[in-house]
Amino acid sequence: MTPDDLKYHKEHTWVKVSGRKVTIGITDYAQDALGDIVYIDLPEIDTDVEANTEIGEIESTKATSSLISPVSGKVIEVNEELSDTPEIINEDPYGKAWIAVIEINDESELDDLMDASEYTKYIEEEIK
């Protein structure tokens, strides 16, 4: 379950590109590894974020995990619904549970991300 129309970051986030505004979320592999998600500390609107740095935190019933931004830019929208119902990240990580929309500075950064088949191989390696 790795949609073809998305790009993937090694810290298990996905990016949906639509011009300079990109939507991000965590992958199915990440939600499955975390288990039942009970809280997400969302990034704040208008904050500048940098690729490969922590922009939030996710808590599950068994672990806490940093949310690492796959891109650099400004947060222009966050999915407030996740504050009250973080469990939808487990149910629909690529759909209803998008986390934030980021306006990116540098489109070339997207070239560093993996496509679906590369990410599938990457997680197969990680499981070994």
């Binding site: 009970v38 809280y39 500390d41 935190e57 808590e59 599950s60 019933t61 068994k62 672990a63 806490t64």
Partner: protein, 461 residues
Amino acid sequence: MRLTILGAGPGGYVAAIRAARSGLKVTVVEKDEPGGTCLNRGCIPTKSIIASIELLKKIRLSHNFGIDVPAEVKPDLNKIIARKNKIVQTQVNGIINLFKFHGIEIKKGKGYLLSPRSILVTDNGSKQEVIESDVIIIATGSRPYQIPSIPFDNKLIISSDDALNITDIPKNIVILGAGVIGCEFAFIFKLLGSDVTLVELLPRPLSTEDIDITNILERELKKLGIKLFASTKVEKVITENSSIKVYLSNGKELITDKILVTAGRSFNTENIGIENAGIIKGNRGEILVNNRFQTNTSNIYAVGDVIGKMMLAHVAAREGITAVENIIGNNTTIDYNSIPSAIFTLPEIASVGLREFQANEQGIKINTGHFQFRMLARSHTIGEIDGLVKVISDANTDKLLGVHIIGPHASDIIHEAVLAIRKGLKTKDISETIHAHPTFSEAILEASDDVYGKAIHIIKK
């Protein structure tokens, strides 16, 4: 030997009992009720109120436990305060009974030193009497610090003393100072239903605690919707009728019903005549003592908040006992390196010994171990999985140097670490000790195991 003690808080009343048991003739002078700040305006009243709000929180989560509560639950503030008052009164009576049992005389009134051996006591009806003593212990404590530009009016701008006796739940409240008192009240007011904003001058709340602990606290504040402005100063406060405008250094303006100022404590060293006994104060206004709690006037001792060491009830009590031991000729001191502290936020925080930032400041090479309560079955059974135990040990000797806990029952489980640190034990000693299952104390065991990567319930990447 005649001993007179000024103040019947945890320092004074405990000293009185120890002294009476040692055969001294003891008089205690107290202007309010025995028990001091701790019992009347601090530890015990706040914990009584926190017990009410914890229950409220739990009832609101009852559906998670398979319990249907048919109607909406609401706090009844007047009953919460009445319950608190009753608990306090019971404990006050307990101290009065202890005094009677031990033949300790209590003089109700304000004490004022006329000389190193005589104290003038003025009661509330302004009746005066002079008490002569061979030895005196000053245990007059502390009071809420008043910021000169934001004086208490006890209605809109209140101290922690006032906050314990409010009659209405404010719609919103700004708390100045995110120390122990400010943080505890933030949770109290938020769960009572107020909109709460904490303003702190320093970069983080509870700045004397370990950063791993306060990071979790900050997230718990955020989860509940308590706003925190750190590294922020109050520029100006303007009172208009029944609301207050607060101007912050970050440019924000807050409009609030109440301001609770918890910006530290002032020493009660004024108007007690210490100058008549030649006692020297430090530059913070505290009474200076040697390590046997003796002031520069040899027959006068001082203990508790008034000496400005660690302003904790359990420290005051031990200082009181230690002062008496020295008075009766047993040369004893206190080890301040293994004193626990407990903070009753939700979840609780407890700590003992070295923080990681202190180890760095002192250039001590350390190992650390961490264990999250969410990995612990016992936490899941009560539905309280947030929190962490952090163990700090000497990298060379494995000696335990500090243990920091945020999580369920932190204040109860810390004491294994207190004893271990006091006795110079190693993390290995904790690891080799079988802990009962399922208990919260297992988190200390696993955090100790984690120092060497041996914790069973941690998945290492």
